[in-house]
Symmetry: C2
């Protein structure tokens, strides 16, 4: 995550430590004062940087809050264990914990309300791209190992994972999390194991 | 939906026609001026009723907006056709269309931000209860017909349906809807046909 930069250039044009401080300040403010009051100037004050420094790094308040809410934020994705059921359980758990964080519960509804422009969609896709790619790899590896057949729609399964955990985290937080994580991880596994091509050729439910 | 009430008592304590006018006014305002500006007084003005009349019927602005956004609003649920795949496709389509309505895209994020209290959760559960019960019936009927085995977790599948369509409607609207509806309806069917009890006893993915 941390860019290599010579100490002499710190602060201009980019300082990873300062970036992290700004993102942390945004998360703290979201949790403490809510979306509306998490303004650029409040974030700058909390992080101890000036406003122009923030605008050099982020094009808008929404872009900054998106990264604060949807960026990794201390919950990195794990390496594959070689067992897709185990890996899916870990992914669902991480997604739920992130969606249930106070910063996400305050920030995601605000972003959903404010970020329906094409530009905002592009930003969100860019933030999500590495995670989507990692999810695709997870399923591809399971196909290579012979754990699931080829043909699963990984990007649809990713939307199912992201959408369901986001709504669960926003509305229920971590309440009933064990049952939820098991049910969703199992569902993703069953769907990965039964790609669309196979339906109709198998006697489901008989 | 319409309560039987003698014409002489219209307006006190309840007038279904007036209720509908208030809900329609709330939806119109959400779509036109957004969540923040959809106030009780703006709704009253648009609907041509007075504010106390609204408070006699709804306990708060949030309760009213919730009913405007999550109530049926012209998209009633259909009767079962006797074919679960067909019925699930219809349900997913209706849920997506409702989540993509301008009133929902403006109102749902605001409600998610404002309605995280236990009281708000209770209200939402009460609004959703008949729809959840109808979904449970849909699956129970399919079990009775022998279309799927018993044991599906209907309430978890309902959360999957509601969460995924809500996020899809909010972020993408009706863009790519045919592919999305097919993929989600198929997923719900596969999951209904492979309840948890059966996993492990069948050779998934072999």
């Amino acid at each position: 995550m941390v860019k290599t930069e010579s100490p002499a250039r710190i602060g201009r044009p980019r300082d990873p430590g300062k970036d992290e401080a700004v993102l942390l300040a945004a998360r703290t403010l979201l949790a403490e004062v809510g979306y509306q009051q998490t303004t650029i100037s409040a974030i700058a004050r909390t992080a101890g940087v000036n406003t122009p420094a923030i605008y050099r790094r982020w094009s808008s308040r929404e872009a900054l809050i998106e990264e604060a809410v949807h960026g990794p934020g201390g919950h990195p994705l794990p390496r594959s264990t070689g067992d897709l059921r185990v890996d899916l359980t870990t992914w669902v758990h991480i997604f739920l914990v992130r969606a249930a964080r106070p910063a996400a519960r305050a920030g995601v509804p605000g972003l959903l309300a404010d970020s329906r422009t094409a530009e905002a969609r592009q930003r969100l896709l860019a933030i999500g791209a590495p995670v989507r790619a990692a999810f695709q790899d997870l399923l591809d590896d399971a196909v290579r190992r012979g754990e699931i057949p080829a043909g699963a729609d990984a990007m649809f399964l990713f939307d199912l994972l992201a959408g369901t955990t986001t709504m669960q985290g926003l509305t229920r937080g971590l309440e009933g999390q064990d049952r939820f994580v098991d049910a969703l991880a199992r569902s993703l596994y069953v769907l990965a194991a039964h790609p669309a091509d196979a339906v109709g050729t198998e006697a489901v439910g008989q």
